[in-house]
Amino acid sequence: MKRPSLFSLVLAMPLLLWQLAFFLFPLLFLIAISFWTVKMFQMQPDMSFANWQRILTRGVFWDAYLRTMILATSAAVLTSAIAFPASYAISFKLSERAKRWMIFVLIIPFFTSYLVRVYSWQVFLTDAGIINAALSYVGLGPYPMLNNTFGTLVGMVTLCLPLVILLQTFSLNFVNRDLIEAAHNLRCGRLRTVASVIVPSAKVGLVIAALFAFILSFGDFVSPLYLGGGNPPTLSIMITDITKSGQQWPRAAVVAIMMIATLMTVAFAAITYAYKERGK
């Protein structure tokens, strides 16, 4: 292989060095400190499994783990289900111009403070809030919508929905229009066309969109804390609690590593499933 030129190194190296030093290394450091011990409020290099043992033998941790898994899975499924009809309509029913506008509109939420949106939801969802006040006019409610699972899911769907619609729309845009025409010519009904032509063709994109929703919800601590009431905690809340309440970073590191391991497993499973027997 040719020796890399100075030019290519000057362009390629800054990013590589930056990400090695400030992205990969901190994550590896996290693994290292999970074996450290804390003495007199100071972390000390060590090779102890005490943190692992302490976290993994605790019911509290596994409750949080299960709860986080259920919340993230529900958010991913719910968001995908809500998004699909919208993505389908955007991809197949809108003009090119309207499509471009829709994509622009869906990008806006990414640059709107998620915290502010969650705060705003609090105001909507409280017992005396806008929604319950409106419902009481027609003699309903009040329904508890805050500090419970419902509230958490509202926040998570708010976070994920724009991204999932965008990813689904992009993958539906790549579905071969001739296949759909062929299905129609063969007198395949609309639902059947969606189920046996469109969904299989766009499967990779749909699964990856759901995966992103899972990842985002799994790591989100804002919704569970401010819309879900924070109790029982999720893994992310656990990490923030442990970190902010003292020097027990090694234990927080164990929780973080468990989270990363879970995410990697889920991502690997989802991608394997997405590409398995990929349509014709």
């Binding site: 006019y137 708010t158 973080a256």
Partner: protein, 265 residues
């Protein structure tokens, strides 16, 4: 396309509208509540008032948070765009052993949950005595923003005619001259778009900044502080202003990316 049905299409359009209402309800709500006199907004809404804007205008903490956010955002935008440009060009031009590792390292940060990034950054930066400073927020945001800059510039590079570079070399330009006279002018709109987008990302990022910032809090971290304390519509006022500034940056970026032939002269 084949069997169209007005009814089903109508339902689909209604569904899009409902999704958009759901997505934008909190954003619109924050605007409305910020102009509402009641501390706990309910129906019917109270009077129109600018009190909450006046309150944040007179709050020195908000101003220092704002100053920190802008300083961090500007520095991060420049760093992330330079890093992203190098990464995008490397991906566009070269094939080398370990390229997939390079790309993974460059693009993965947004998929790592922010609490984990925050903890890892805090643990690492405090070890090298850098936590609790503005620099630590810049470092963390640099990691998180450079993938966005890289993606935007890479997209623009893929629109470039590959013969352009070859032509420049044939005319005797070396790589540096080609970079300066061909590639940078061609990607200029994307470079500016990347600057604005990364600045907007940095403006809104709160979680990692919260972990590493110590006393030099950015505005979003201030908001997090407000959220944990008393309920205050000041958050809505700050949020509305933050929304307007982020949107300005996005619209600028969008305008720059709109005409792909601009700047290629």
């Amino acid at each position: 396309m084949g069997n169209e049905s007005k009814l089903i299409n109508g339902w689909l359009m209604l569904h899009i509208a409902l999704c958009l209402i759901f997505i934008f309800a909190p954003i619109a709500g924050s605007f409305v509540f910020s102009l509402n006199s009641d501390r706990f907004p309910s129906l019917p809404l109270g009077e129109f008032s600018l009190d909450w804007y006046r309150a944040i205008w007179n709050d020195p903490l908000v101003w220092s948070g704002f100053a920190n956010t802008v300083i961090v955002g500007l520095i991060v935008a420049v760093i992330a765009t330079i890093l992203g440009f190098g990464g995008a060009y490397t991906d566009y031009r070269y094939n080398f052993f370990g390229k997939s590792f390079y790309l993974a390292l460059a693009l993965l940060p947004p998929t790592i949950p922010v609490v984990i990034m925050g903890l890892a950054m805090l643990a690492f930066l405090s070890r090298i005595q850098l936590s609790g400073s503005t620099i630590s927020v810049v470092i963390a945001h640099g990691v998180m923003c450079s993938p966005f800059a890289m993606a935007i510039i890479r997209l623009r590079l893929s629109q470039m005619d590959p013969d352009l570079e070859a032509a420049a070399w044939n005319l005797g330009g070396n790589e540096w001259a080609t970079l300066r006279h061909v590639i940078i002018p061609f990607t200029r709109p994307a470079i500016f778009a990347a600057l604005f987008i990364t600045m907007a990302v940095s403006f809104d990022e709160f979680a990692v900044a919260w972990f590493v910032s110590g006393l030099n809090e950015t505005l979003p971290v201030k908001i997090l502080g407000f959220l944990q304390g008393q309920v205050s519509p000041r958050i809505n006022a700050i949020g509305s202003l933050a929304f307007l500034s982020s949107m300005t940056l996005i619209v600028l970026a969008q305008l720059l990316l709109r005409n792909p032939n601009e700047g290629s002269k």
